[in-house]
């Protein structure tokens, strides 16, 4: 049997006033396995710790119980004490006789009895404690960033600047994301591309960043510090190693398709770059729209390319890599106007979403920044902006607030007014959410200086009447219905997680909330981590947010990644649940209860295999295992059963 020492702390009078220390000491002296009981006034003080050290040596103890305060407070302290004299830290246990005994009971006899029972039960645990070493996990110091919007760009640059390698995977042919589409940005109205494109170029030129655009994650295995990933690069039909980006092919291509970047306001070619400042600035051929792929004729692009870069036989390729951490920054889509039956279901040409209006406002956009409406190119004299479209509407669409639309709608009205001085912007709103530095002031400017008319209420219907768009709404402040015959309507559509994110999260085994956004480990204290160790979240993929918040969160993920990479190896708590292969029947019950996929059934052998690094030590499988093969370390069935008996003993 083990040689256990019990150290009982008085905590001044905090414990001693309610618990009869002498009686406790006496009681434990005879307890099986206990070879020494020692009390002291302040166990955590230096002299107290020295007593423990001395006694461990002199009494040749191989396990100790400190009966004192809550383990939350000093478990670490005493375990380190043990370590300095060569005792395994996991052989040190704490019996909480302060917070859960002396402080909560008044009657000395009762408290003393309870203290005895608590200590006895912990002695029983200590008797069977195994010596454990933290599991050491090596770290691959390379990060994978998924998504090349401002979030992904910021995260990649920040990690790379800490000296670690980064692979940035973007599904479009260029990085930049939604921010590249924006005109000017609130609250300072600086030009979006002016502040974004230098960062895009930095990414392309950074020696630590491997940029993989037109690519997506195909497969992943492994765990924190040791992920194996497979990345699929779609067929571009242009050999980017040969291509110089001269653009001749684009110029000559006869086939057009609606430009995604310009929200369908403009056309692009079948061989194209999404926008002129694209990074990398090399084209891809859009298989769906290319005449050659449809009819077998054309090949003009191939003919004009003097570098022989066009390759119609190119196929998708796969790259396998090992990374230690992953940042998911897959961003957002705008909820399609198509879903708004009451606002014309996307059939009215002059009823558009905010992102389309950004393109109209953008000086690099189809109208060169002049506000012209899509149907006939005239300058709209009255524009109605409608907020909360699809947001805050649990009955028909989504319950949440999309957070950015209050601000960008205000921005839109302002920019419109700056461009069309005699124009009248109206904003239908239900609340104005302008919580941010300088945001309220921005909103006030729109009210005071730009004559934006704010109407408090919802719009029930939008319909076409001749060349006008009639907007039927209400001003609830006055309690009167409003009808405006506008030239154009801009809808602040809800923000949705990017298409395909759900499948991606299934691959990554991270959670999404009921609205499809990525779930953070804790809404306040771990807002940039996923629940899976080593996978971090940034940008609108986690929740709707504006650029400042996106950049802040992306920078935070980079610091989490650097944190991880700065460790020599990862230490993993060893209180895990393994498997006793002799007992395991391969029933698989434990596999189904494990929230971390730490357990896998080996069908051939008929037993379960445990990945100790993934196990977080909840013990759920231990409770579920019918054969006793799954035993949580230092919380074994025998230990728990002996503890129960000790509590019930006289």
């Amino acid at each position: 049997m083990k040689r256990i020492g019990v150290f009982v702390c008085h905590c001044g009078i905090n414990i001693a006033a309610t618990v009869d220390i002498e009686s406790v000491v006496k009681d434990l002296e005879d307890y099986p396995g206990v070879v020494l009981v020692q009390d002291y006034k302040y166990m955590c003080s230096d002299p107290g710790q020295n007593i423990i050290k001395e006694k461990i040596k002199s009494e040749r103890l191989d396990g100790i119980v400190v009966a004192a305060c809550s383990p939350t407070l000093h478990e670490n302290t005493f375990r380190l004490t043990c370590k300095t004299v060569g005792m395994n830290p996991y052989s040190c246990e704490i019996a909480n006789i302060r917070e859960q005994c002396s402080w909560v009971h008044k009657n000395k006899d009762e408290a003393t009895l309870k203290a005895k029972l608590i200590i006895r039960s912990i002695v029983e645990k200590a008797l069977l404690d195994e010596e454990l070493e933290p599991v050491q996990v090596p770290v691959i110091r390379k990060a994978l960033v998924l998504g090349g919007g401002i979030a992904g760009i910021q995260a990649a640059l920040s990690i790379a600047n800490s000296g670690y390698e980064v692979i940035l995977v973007e599904k479009q042919s260029s990085i930049g994301g939604r921010m590249a589409q924006l005109s000017e940005t609130f609250p300072t109205l600086d030009c979006s591309q002016c502040i974004l494109t230098p960062k895009m170029v930095d990414v392309a030129q950074h020696e630590k960043i491997r940029l993989m655009t037109y690519s997506e994650l195909e497969d992943i295995s492994g765990f924190v510090g040791n992920f194996k990933v497979k990345i699929r690069q779609k067929a571009k039909y242009v050999d980017w190693d040969k291509c110089t980006g001269c653009g001749l092919c684009i110029e000559k291509c006869p086939k057009k398709a609606p430009s995604e970047f310009d929200q369908g306001l403009e056309k692009r070619k079948a061989v194209f770059t999404p926008f002129p400042q694209a990074v990398p600035n090399k084209p891809v051929i859009d298989h769906e729209n290319c005449t050659y792929f449809k009819t077998g004729k054309c090949q003009l692009c191939k003919i004009v390319c003097s570098f022989d870069a066009v390759d119609f036989d190119e196929t998708e390729t796969f790259v396998e890599e090992e990374v230690g951490a992953i940042v998911v920054a897959t961003g957002y889509d705008v909820y399609p106007v198509l879903n708004m039956d009451e606002y014309g279901s996307g059939k009215l040409p002059d009823v558009i979403d905010g992102l389309t209006f950004e393109r109209i406002l953008s000086s690099s956009g189809p109208t060169g920044g002049e506000v012209r409406r899509p149907s006939d190119g005239t300058v709209p004299k009255e524009i109605v902006f409608i907020k909360c479209v699809g947001s805050r509407d649990p009955e028909h669409h989504f319950p949440y607030c999309s957070k950015i639309c209050c601000m960008y709608t205000t921005k839109h009205a302002m920019l419109y007014k700056h461009r069309v001085h005699d124009g009248q912007p109206y904003i239908f709103y239900m609340d104005v959410r302008a919580g941010g530095k300088g945001y309220e002031e921005f909103y006030q400017r729109a009210q005071e200086e730009d004559n934006v008319i704010f109407l408090r209420g919802k719009v029930s219907k939008v319909y076409q009447d001749d060349d006008k768009v009639v907007v039927c709404g209400i001003d609830t402040i006055y309690g009167r219905n409003v009808e405006i015959r506008a030239d154009m309507v801009v809808l602040a559509m809800a923000i949705r997680p990017s298409k395909g994110v759900e499948e991606l999260t299934r691959l990554l085994k991270i959670a999404i909330d009921q609205n499809g956004f990525l779930t953070e480990a804790h809404p306040k204290l771990r807002p940039v981590e996923s629940l899976s160790a080593g996978i971090y979240l940034a940008g609108c993929a986690q929740a709707p947010k504006d650029i400042p918040d996106t950049v802040a969160q992306a920078s935070a993920t980079a610091s989490m990644v650097s944190n991880l990479f700065s460790q020599e190896y990862l230490l993993h708590d060893p209180l895990i649940t393994g498997v006793n292969e002799d007992l395991c029947s391969g029933c698989g019950v434990c596999v189904s209860v494990c929230p971390y996929d730490a357990r896998k059934l080996n069908k051939e052998e008929g037993i379960v295999e445990v990945n100790e690094v993934l196990c977080e030590g909840c013990g759920s499988c231990s409770a579920a295992c019918p054969s006793g093969a799954a035993q949580q370390k230092n919380f074994t069935d025998t230990q728990l059963s002996n503890m129960v008996k000790a509590i019930l003993s006289e």
Binding site: S70, P71, T72, N96, R98, E99, Q100, C101, W103, V104, H105, K106, N107, E110, A111, L113, K114, L117, I118, S121, A511, L531, L575, V593, P595, Y596, E616, G617, C618, G619, S620, S622, A623, A624, Q632, F635, D637, L640, S641, M643, V644, K645, I647, L648
Partner: protein, 135 residues
Amino acid sequence: MFDPKIVAFFCKWCTSAGADLAGTSRMTYKPNIVGIRVMCSSRVDPEHILNAFKNGAEGVLIGGCHPGDCHYQSGNYKTLKRITLLKKMLNDLGIDKNRLRLEWISAAEGKRFTQVMDEFTDEIKKLGKLKINQL
């Protein structure tokens, strides 16, 4: 006066921390319940509960995090399922199902912790001594 012995299992993250808070706030409650700190309420095997009754416990209490708050994502849901099942079985064994209780108590609910302790103790006192022939 009948003074029952009650065994409790508290998860480390919520209920045990709630008990500590009751302590640091110097609240008081009845001393009959002695707790065992486990990592997660889902570590508690129904076997341990039956074992407690067999060895003379008059009542068993499990404390976990509120639904949605589990440190291990879904441990408390598993506990709920297991306890609900076990309660059905207890009746067959002639043990009043009210002798087993599952409570969600968060790290901030020191007050609630003491209330639950007192309430459960009173309830067990009312139920009287547990008589079981065999298990």
